[in-house]
Symmetry: C2
Subunit: 202 residues, 2 copies
DNA sequence: GCGTTACCGTAACGTACGTTACGAGATAGG
DNA sequence: CCTATCTCGTAACGTACGTTACGGTAACGC
């Protein structure tokens, strides 16, 4: 007699609710009661699925990483050249659409929570370094003639640009529109040469 | 009979304490009691100087803007060419030193608080747009031959890069060291031509 | 020197939080 | 069909928060 309800599904629904609340009310509004209400259950069920609030946070953080990572994997696999792959991965990591802006707000919330929570901070560092590694590999594929150090610094710069666009879009979507983000990314990618140049009207 | 104690000084000391707590404990740890303890007084005195917690937050946010803005003003005035001014302003806005990393952490805290507090969000947007305007003016001074649209997109891109470096440094100073930040900025500034190129060993 | 006024520490209030304990209902085995 | 076991909603607990009310104390005008 293992489980009569689907535990995995409930964990996902609860972390999705965590995400939703975090995007809508921000970090101070993220309470167990708010999550329970959003998920349509009670705090008792929440704490029966997760040991405590931090476990819920950690799972929601992993869910966020899963979504962005899988999206990046798909784009990278579908791209025909390393140049288009790099461009697609970076652009999806920024927040060009309303849906991505919600993700950006969640990301900012987790970032701020990481400042006080060592567990979340360690998760954040790991995920971010993985993202840097992915970008570095793509940069090296686009410019195999570059030394490794240049690929590294270029990758960290591109990641910083993308995450900067994320954070700024989260609080000021008007100034940092999708077009502005595209322009900033295209300008940064132009340094890699024509292999990573943007589409004229794509 | 106006005031027997220096109100302005107390406001500054309290907002400095707010800053200190925010950098050390993060947004969840920012309570009136923590601020009072850090300032060496009680919550009664805090709420006698500021109407409520939000007023204290707003004042601390303004203080952060004052510090960065005055530092940018000084660097801009001391620079001999628009190119060196742009470089200096951007580099100080990133977080190359331990002290600036504390500011970066505070900035992230206010950013996350802005997601749920419209007043703080409006302040954040205003300050950030002022920063973009400053950078845009410097870009236009470095490249007067560029059309205004190019100066704008370049400015937003540079600001996004700087703020991205800020946020990433706040939680992972090891990966985003001062050298890495300098390299990323130099690479971005190289697009502006030799007028904004970095010092060889500065 | 005295009354008045502003200042600020103390203590409490109401609220909301994370967490825990317990009981009702549902489900599977025998 | 009965019992044991798991699931989850209910209700409460202790704590910490923002905020408020009040009293003592020190500084000013006269």
């Amino acid at each position: 007699m293992a489980s009569r309800r689907d535990r995995v599904d409930q964990r996902q629904r609860l972390s999705a609710a965590t995400w939703s609340v975090l995007a809508e009310r921000g970090l101070p509004g993220l309470t167990l009661r708010a999550v329970a209400e959003r998920a349509g259950c009670t705090t008792g069920m929440v704490l029966h699925t997760f040991a405590d609030k931090q476990a819920l946070l950690v799972h929601a953080r992993e869910l966020l990483h899963q979504r962005t990572g899988q999206r990046a994997d798909a784009l990278q696999a579908a791209a025909e050249t390393p140049g288009t792959a790099l461009r697609a991965v970076l652009f999806q990591a920024a927040a060009p659409t309303t849906e991505r802006q919600e993700e950006a707000r969640v990301w900012v919330g987790f970032l701020a929570a990481s400042l006080a929570d060592p567990v979340l901070a360690e998760l954040h560092r790991g995920y971010n370094r993985r993202f840097v590694d992915r970008v570095r590999g793509l940069v090296a594929a686009v410019r195999p003639d570059w030394p490794a150090a240049d690929c590294s610094s270029t990758a960290t710069g591109l990641v910083a640009l993308v995450e900067g666009l994320n954070t700024l879009t989260a609080v000021d979507p008007a100034t940092y529109s999708g077009a502005a983000q595209r322009a900033a990314l295209d300008a940064a990618l132009a340094r890699l040469g024509p292999a990573a140049a943007g589409h004229p009207s794509g």
